[in-house]
Symmetry: C2
Subunit: 317 residues, 2 copies
C-alpha cells in the first residue's frame, strides 16, 4: 500500500485491519531516521504481557531524513512539528538510544555499542544517568568503526607501496575489489568521493585477508577490537554499570555490520571477550527488533510506567 | 609596479632596468603555484660562477593557481599554453621537486622532506631515478603532517573527555586557543569546516604542551617524528642514496613550518637525529631561496648542462 505526502511516496508495507487512525485508540509512532532511509512504525498504547511487546500496526519506509549528522535533529523536529497537531508529544533522541531499546525492549538500562560506518557507545543507568564514548566520527579517531578499519587498510596499502610499511595481502585484495591497477590509483579513488560509507565497504576485504593469515590485516582488526572495547569500558566505568565490585550484571546491546560479521574472524565476539575480562557481568544482548520499533518501545515503556503510577494512585504530598 | 591580465592584477615587486622583455635575451620563468598564492620569478639563461645563481630579474605574486590537489597540474598546463607561444618549452613538476631544488640550487640529487599542513618525501638520484613516500594526504595516514599532528591532538582531547584516554593539558590549551567552552564544542568546530589547513594551525599548541611536560602531547610529537623519518628513510632506501654500505653522503632538504618550529621541542632536529641513526651520511640542507627560484634554477641547471654538452662538441656517433 502506497500513499503520497508532498510529492514523496511513503510505502506502507502492511497495515492491520481497522488500523487506519487507530479507531480512536491512542497510538505511538517510532521513527528511525537515517541517511539512506527512514523507517516509521505504529503501535498502540496498551499494556502487554511480560516479555511481549504490543503489536506493530503499520510500517512505512521513506528516503533520507538525516541530511547532516550535526543538524539532523533540528531537521527532524521541523518535519514532525509540520505534520502533527500541537497536542501530540514527541521526543527526539540519539539513534544509539533507539538501538539500546531495540535490545532491552524499551528499558533504558545498560550499554549499547554500534559499529557500522561509524561507531558510538552509549549507556544508561536505572536512575537516569547517561554517558557516551566515541561517536565523533572519522576525523576525531573512531578507529573501531567500519570507516576506521577500511581507512587503515587503504593506508597500509599505500605504506607498503612507498616502502614505509610491510608488504600485505591487502594490496592485491583491495585493488581487485575496487578494480584498480595500482596503489597510485587508490589515492585518486579515496579522494574522488568523500563519503565515509563508501570507504567502509572495504571492511569484508580486511576480514578476508586477516582470515587468510595476513599480519597487517590481523593487526588492524585487533586494534579495532581494542578501540571498540575501550569505548564500552569507558561508558560502563563512568556510569558504574558494573557495580562497586565490577561484577554486577548489565546488558550490552551490540548493533551494526562490523559486529555482525559472524565469520571465522568474529570482531563482535572478540570485543565481548575483551570487555568481559574487565567486567565479567557483561550480558550480551542481540537486538530483537529494528531500531524504529525500539524507538516506539521506548515511548511505550515510558507511557506504561506513567499509567501504572497513576493506577497505584499514591500521592506522597 | 602592477600590470593587469584578464582582469587580475599581477604585482611585479621589482624589475631590473632593461629587464622588460629581456632585451632579446633568453629567459627562464620559475613558477610556484599554491592554493593561497602563486609566485613567479624571471632569470636569464647565462652561465654563472660556482655557488652563485643568476640574478632574479623580476618577481610577481598572484592568487590561487591550484584549485584542486589532483587536477592542479592540468589546470596549470592550460594556463601556460594559453599565455605562451608554441616554441616556449615548459615543464610541470611536483612542488616537492622545486623545494628540493631550492636547497640544492637546481641540482636534482638527494631527498626533500616537506611538512606543513601535509607532508611528502621526494628523492632523486644523479642518474635520474626518483621515488616518493607519503604525500597521500590526511585520509591516507600522513600522520607526520601538521594536519596529522593537530588531528591527533583534538582526538586526544575527545578521548580524555569520554574516558577512553588519559587526561591531558591539550584539553585546556586547545579549548583556550579556539575559544570554546567544552570538548563537545570541539566536535562541532572540527566538522564545521573541512579545511585541513585550519586544523593544522593547532600544531603550536601541541608543541607548547609537550614543552610543558604533557605526556600525551609529547607522544604525539614523537610519533610524528617517527612518521616523518620513516618517509625519508623509505625514499633513501629505495633509491640507494646512502650507497651500498649505507654511509654515503646525500643532501636532505627540509621545508615547512612543522620542521622549522625552532623551539625547545624541535621536530626537525629530532627527525634528522632519527634518520642519521640509520644513514650517517645524511647532510641537512636548509632551503636558500624560495621554491619559485628553485623551479627556475631547475630549468637553468638543465639548460646550462645542455649548453656545456654542446660546447664540448663530442659526438659519439
Amino acid at each position: 500500500m502506497k500513499r503520497e505526502r508532498k510529492g514523496e511516496v511513503w510505502d506502507f508495507e502492511h497495515e492491520l485491519p481497522g488500523g487506519s487512525g487507530g479507531g480512536g485508540q491512542k497510538l505511538i509512532l517510532g521513527l528511525d531516521g537515517g541517511t539512506t532511509k527512514t523507517i516509521c512504525v505504529c503501535m498502540p498504547i496498551i499494556p502487554s504481557t511480560p516479555n511481549h511487546s504490543p503489536p506493530v500496526y503499520a510500517r512505512a519506509v521513506a528516503g533520507c531524513s538525516n541530511h547532516n549528522s550535526v543538524g539532523g535533529y533540528v531537521f527532524l523536529v521541523l518535519i514532525i512539528s509540520d505534520i502533527f497537531p500541537n497536542d501530540v508529544e514527541y521526543y527526539v533522541e540519539n539513534d544509539a538510544v533507539a538501538a539500546l531499546a531495540s535490545g532491552t525492549m524499551g528499558k533504558l538500562h545498560g550499554c549499547v555499542l554500534i559499529a557500522g560506518t561509524g561507531t558510538i557507545a552509549y549507556g544508561y543507568t536505572k536512575d537516569g544517568r547517561e554517558a557516551r564514548a566515541s561517536g565523533a566520527e572519522a576525523i576525531l579517531g573512531d578507529w573501531g568503526s567500519g570507516y576506521g578499519i577500511a581507512a587503515k587498510a587503504v593506508t597500509s596499502v599505500i605504506r607498503a607501496y612507498d616502502g614505509r610499511g610491510p608488504e600485505t595481502m591487502l594490496t592485491c585484495s583491495t585493488l581487485h575489489e575496487l578494480q584498480l591497477s595500482s596503489p597510485d590509483e587508490l589515492i585518486g579513488w579515496t579522494y574522488a568521493d568523500p563519503s565515509w560509507a563508501r570507504v567502509a565497504t572495504l571492511v569484508p576485504v580486511v576480514v578476508s585477508c586477516a582470515e587468510a593469515g595476513d599480519q597487517v590485516a590481523n593487526d588492524i582488526l585487533l586494534h579495532a577490537v581494542q578501540e571498540l572495547a575501550s569505548s564500552v569500558k569507558a561508558v560502563v566505568h563512568r556510569l558504574g554499570l558494573c557495580g562497586k565490585d565490577g561484577k554486577d550484571s548489565f546488558p550490552l546491546v551490540m548493533v551494526g555490520n562490523v559486529l555482525e560479521a559472524n565469520k571465522r574472524w568474529d570482531i563482535g565476539k572478540e570485543v565481548i571477550g575483551c570487555i568481559s575480562k574487565d567486567f565479567p557481568g557483561t550480558r550480551l544482548v542481540r537486538a530483537k527488533v529494528e531500531p524504529a520499533v525500539g524507538a516506539a518501545l521506548l515511548a511505550w515503556n515510558y507511557l506504561i510506567e506513567q499509567y501504572q503510577q497513576e493506577l497505584s494512585g499514591v500521592d506522597y504530598n
